[in-house]
């Protein structure tokens, strides 16, 4: 251990609070070394514009000589590489073939060598097995300065290894940006097989997928609260498109709205109110209500379609789809229903609006040449930008909690998959792999 001091034993985080139905056990997180210069966030290395931080990632080592040890070391490296690459912050470089002879402590690392090949940061670590538990220790280094930024230790069940490495990645993101990483977030989506649609939940990297519904009917439009503890969706389980709320911790289901059509729910940032589209007097209208299904407020009164609302992060405005101009277009309004104004004037079919967590952009899908493309626009109607091109038909964008990425569905060649786009770098990647004859749609991202 680096300096033998465990500066903070208060770092125990209850995993149970983050909807981990499979893993009830806790991961113990501790400092090995407190951050240098008593700063919480280490921002010495600046990323300029879209440039990511080059970080060297060796294979994590252990004293044990066994296949299990080799495989675990490789697994840690590979999860960490994936997390860092998908953080939008780092550009991880696998240096495992060249690092073998070095130790993990600052004194034994040849920083000059890593500096000369352009590395700005280096993460090195060890792990040890204790029965069915594993202890993962990691140190993050500033390569140009040859200095340690932080050391951390994670202890948990071997089955929790992925989560432990996700925590390490998020720690690195936090140290270098001051922002929360996304490695421990979850994604809910709709899995369609032969006309049956069920809501699924998985880690942000597509692992640990679990079914949330198993109604054998249509379950549509999942929406997660910011803290990821509740999910609202439209269910046909009672033969009608009703709005249901699931407490993910114990799968308790309550009915929020029934009778007529109740679709496209969206939680506000606080997770205390829902906006959705409800049929009133024969028309789909935007409404808001609380999570008891009470205090229903009708916000639109146009005799056509008003649907797919989403909240601004400050909870004061809504963006929604209306066909009152003759085709589906995005509109915005105050939460009381005032100041309704058209947002999009480009494209003949715009829908699926998602307001960015930072509030500065709105993502949506826009029909271009017969297929949908993901586009962005500012809340004042300026800076219309198309961000996908010919991937297939791209629908229903959802923001990552850090606002750096979008996830959306892509229909191509008869199947629909989920893809993620890093907005700063333009990097595109698949999330998970749908099984045969499966379509994955309608993703939403917990914060």
């Amino acid at each position: 251990m680096k300096d033998g001091t465990w500066a903070d034993r208060g770092g125990r985080h209850g995993v149970g609070s983050r909807l981990t139905p499979l893993l009830a056990a806790c991961i113990l997180v501790s400092w090995i070394a407190a951050p240098v210069a008593a700063v919480d966030v280490y921002l010495d290395i600046k990323s300029s514009g879209s440039r990511r931080i080059d970080v060297a990632v060796p294979r994590f080592s252990t004293g044990e000589e066994s296949i299990r040890a080799l495989e675990t070391g490789e697994q840690i490296r590979s999860i960490l590489m994936y997390d860092l690459l998908n953080s939008s912050v780092f550009n991880p470089i696998d240096i495992s073939p060249f690092f073998a002879s070095e130790g993990v402590e600052a004194s034994s690392i040849n920083f000059k060598q890593w500096y000369l090949i352009g590395m700005q940061a280096l993460v090195a670590g060890t792990f040890t097995f204790h029965g069915d538990e594993i202890i993962l220790k990691a140190w993050i280094y500033d390569v140009p300065m040859g200095q340690e930024i932080i050391g951390k230790s994670y202890q948990g069940q071997i089955a929790q290894l992925r989560e432990m490495v996700h925590r390490l990645s998020d720690e690195m993101v936090f140290r270098f940006t001051g922002e929360q990483g996304v490695a421990r977030t979850r994604i809910a989506f709709v899995k369609a097989v032969a006309g049956i649609k069920e809501i699924m939940l998985m880690d942000y990297d597509g692992h640990n997928m679990i079914p949330i519904t198993s109604d054998g009917t249509l379950s549509l439009f999942p929406a997660l609260t910011g803290d990821g503890t509740r999910l609202a969706y439209t269910s046909y389980r009672h033969g009608n498109p009703d709005l249901l709320l699931i407490e993910l911790r114990d799968k308790t289901v309550s009915t929020l709205a029934s009778g007529g059509m109740n679709i496209t729910p969206a939680f506000d940032a606080a997770g205390t109110h829902l906006a959705f589209s409800r049929e009133i007097d024969g028309n789909p209208e935007i409404c808001t209500m609380d999570l008891m299904g009470s205090n229903l407020q009708r916000l639109t009164f146009y005799p056509g379609i008003d649907s797919s609302p989403d909240w601004s992060p400050n909870g004061r405005q809504l963006v929604f789809t209306s066909d009152r101009s003759g085709s589906p277009q995005l509109w915005t309004m105050d939460v009381e229903g005032g100041n309704q104004r058209r947002l999009t004037f480009i494209g003949e079919y715009n829908d699926g609006a998602a307001w960015s967590p930072r509030g500065d952009r709105i993502a949506f899908h826009s029909r271009q040449n017969g297929a949908f493309e993901i586009c962005l626009i500012n809340p004042d109607g300026s800076h219309f930008t198309q961000v996908t091109n010919d991937l297939g038909s791209c629908e229903t964008p959802a923001w990552s909690p850090d606002g750096r990425q979008l996830i959306f569905s892509v229909r191509k060649g008869g199947t629909t998959t989920l893809m993620r786009l890093q907005l700063q770098t333009g990097r595109l990647s698949d999330i998970g792999t749908p099984g045969r004859n499966e379509d994955w749609t309608a993703p939403c991202w917990s914060r």
């Binding site: 006309g195 649609k197 249509l218 549509l220 439009f221 439209t234 033969g239 009608n240 498109p241 059509m261 679709i263 496209t264 589209s277 049929e279 024969g282 028309n283 789909p284 056509g304 379609i305 008003d306 649907s307 797919s308 789809t321 066909d323 085709s327 589906p328 079919y349 829908d351 699926g352 899908h365 017969g370 949908f372 629908e395 229903t396 749609t441 309608a442």
Partner: protein
Amino acid sequence: MAILPTGCKRQPEPGPVEDTPAPYVAPTPTPKPEAVEPAITEEELRRRYEEEKERTLQDVNFDFDRWNLSIRARALLSAVGDWLLSNADVKLLIEGHCDERGSSEYNLALGQKRANAAKEYLVDFGIAGDRLSTISYGEERPLDPRSTEDAWSLNRRAHFVVIEE
């Protein structure tokens, strides 16, 4: 309002034979085959009813991204209205459907508008609103799963399901 003469809930014409008190009935020749009409069986009535139901309850189709009723749609709905007038016990569920080209959120709302447009027409026609319920399936239940113009135009529809008769 034109009520179709073949309304099947109507009782068949009473037979000329049994209740007639006139004594000179006996020597008349045996009735012609048409006069056997009162012997129509329940099954035959049922068959005619089902036939007419199937002929009448045809899907009403719509243009892309539209829920307004075409002239053909109105003609089909008028026939449904007539049939409902002469079959007063029938209650209908009207399903609104869309093709796959729109987005699934908006299509669910659009399907509802299509179902409602058909319902409104029938209510204006004189059918009590409580005999007609609506549901939207958006693009979730295509009649023809192919991605062709023909399939899309079949899938943009209001579909009738008899839920009580």
